[in-house]
Amino acid sequence: MILHPAILALLIGALLTCFMMLYAGWYGVRILRNWDLQSGSELQLELERRTYLISTLVSYSLTFELISLFLLIYTADRLHILITGAMCAAGTLNANAFGYPLLLLKIVNFLLAGVWLIVNHADNRGHDYPLIRVKYAGLIAIAPLSLYELYYLYAYFSELHADVITSCCGSLFSLERPGISGDLASLPSAPMMIVFYVVMAATLLSGVYCYRTGRGGYLFSALSCAAFVVGIASIVSFISLYIYELPSHHCPFDILQKEYGYIGYPIYALLFGAAVAGMGVGVLTPFRTRGSMVQVIPVFTRRLITITLILYLLFTLIVSYKIVISSFRLGGY
């Protein structure tokens, strides 16, 4: 265990998030069991009040999850000097088996919390609590994930040891351990570039179609999920090359650094935002005819589609701009 202030901060953050999510999940169970809208009993009134607490807790968790996601990457980057062979965050995360699963878990938790808040927002617009059961069943499913995340975070950092000179042995860490690869497997650049633009264009088209006709919500949602995955794969595969202007540097984390003008923050923020909004469309679609949602969901879905499209469009524009102004050119492949 390295007692770095940032690691303490991350652990505290995860502990708080976990506590909030489990607390919310616990009341989710109570709401699922005892909810009866027709009743004016004191229990029902109390449960309705709890819903305010729960949505506040989840939105704070979401915020923490987002900040700590970046903090984790940044910390991993800072710690690479302590780990032999690690060149940047990619290497530090690879230092033990918990690093990448942890990152993945954090991303998944962020997306799920975001989608939950979208459902919650829609439900709050309806005057008959139409999605209450769906919402809380979902919350109960999500809440344990944060416990899982806390466990992974703890396991990751407790397994992470600084390679420090000790007086008892004169061994060289640098050679004892096989070098930790800082490189991620990356897909070939030129084909990936085509896939990237095709998927973005398809998402745009299906979004416009869905906005106009109100149909094809699932397709749009699936495409925007695909666009998220393709977007991240593209950053590793070719976008990073243009940003670093190096033919073999595929690191998805270095773009968060000052040397590259912190370009990674807007890029990832756009990508994550678009993914949450896009997934929200798909999750809301099956409920568009339920009760008062008939009036709420179509309007809300349109707004979500607009947000998704704008974010993806901005993402594509920034990336394309970077590609155009970069002095790097794809050769070979």
């Binding site: 809208l37 004016g40 009993s41 309705e48 709050n124 005057h127 008959d128 008062s292 009036q295």
Partner: protein
């Protein structure tokens, strides 16, 4: 405009100190008139006001709003009936904000802030622009003859003045129905008479008024269109003014 069907409100249900404050009350409150709820203290008048005013939900029974669908919920037509019994709190609050203005027995002004701010308070969460609300609040204070106190703190005012501030506050969101709970309890007879004149003014301006009171000046007043008598949580008499 408002219809109650067997509405009941029970406190501490299922416990030893269970207490039925309103017991299966059915009545109607019509638009544009002055309705007085008459009865001794403890008869359930205030609880009934909170039910009608969407502050609390009945334990059983139904409350319907007629002819105000458009004001209440998005997507409804004017003539639609709204059942408020099982609405989530956020919708009840919206309805309350748009439909009702409250005048409390103890005025319930917030201490430490100015009279003007007190009057503007109900408009804050509606998202109305501050400048607009300020103008409206000042106009109301002017009409009620207390505009000279606009910048002073509420704790320096007399009872009659405080009530006028409370009235201005009740009117700032331009409600359809004004609900007052024992408005004359802390006023002398002259001020009570003045209050009833103001009420007549509201009626003239097309607003409905609902007052709970056991003061003869109120329920005996010429302006009262209907008087509902309550005792022990039930309606014991109902009639139009002689």
């Amino acid at each position: 405009m408002i219809e109650l069907i067997e509405a009941s409100k029970t406190f501490n249900a299922g416990q030893a100190n269970q207490f039925i404050a309103v017991d299966k009350v059915s009545c109607r409150i019509s638009r544009g008139g002055l309705t007085v709820l008459k009865g001794p203290s403890g008869s359930g008048k205030t609880t009934l006001l909170t039910l009608i005013g969407c502050m609390a939900r009945p334990t059983s029974g139904r409350i319907l709003l007629h002819g105000v669908g458009k004001v209440c919920l998005p997507g409804l037509a004017v003539e639609d009936t709204v059942e408020i019994t099982s609405l989530p709190e956020r919708f009840l609050t919206t309805i309350r904000r748009r439909m009702f203005g409250f005048i409390f027995q103890h005025f319930n002004l917030v201490r430490g802030i100015t009279v003007l701010e007190n009057v503007m308070l109900p408009a804050y969460p509606t998202g109305a622009p501050v400048a607009e609300v300020r103008l409206r609040a000042l106009e109301l204070l002017e009409t009620l003859g207390v505009s000279r106190h606009a910048a002073s703190r509420v704790e320096r005012l007399s009872g009659g003045e405080m009530q006028r501030i409370a009235i201005a506050r009740a009117l700032v969101n331009d409600p359809l129905l004004i609900i007052a709970d024992e408005p004359t309890a802390h006023l002398d007879s002259r001020l009570s008479e003045e209050f009833m004149e103001l009420v007549a003014g509201f009626k003239g301006a097309g607003k409905s008024v609902l007052i709970a009171s056991h003061d003869p000046i109120v329920y005996g007043a010429a302006q009262a269109d209907a008087v509902i008598e309550m005792r022990d949580g039930r309606i014991t008499g109902c009639g139009t003014h002689p």
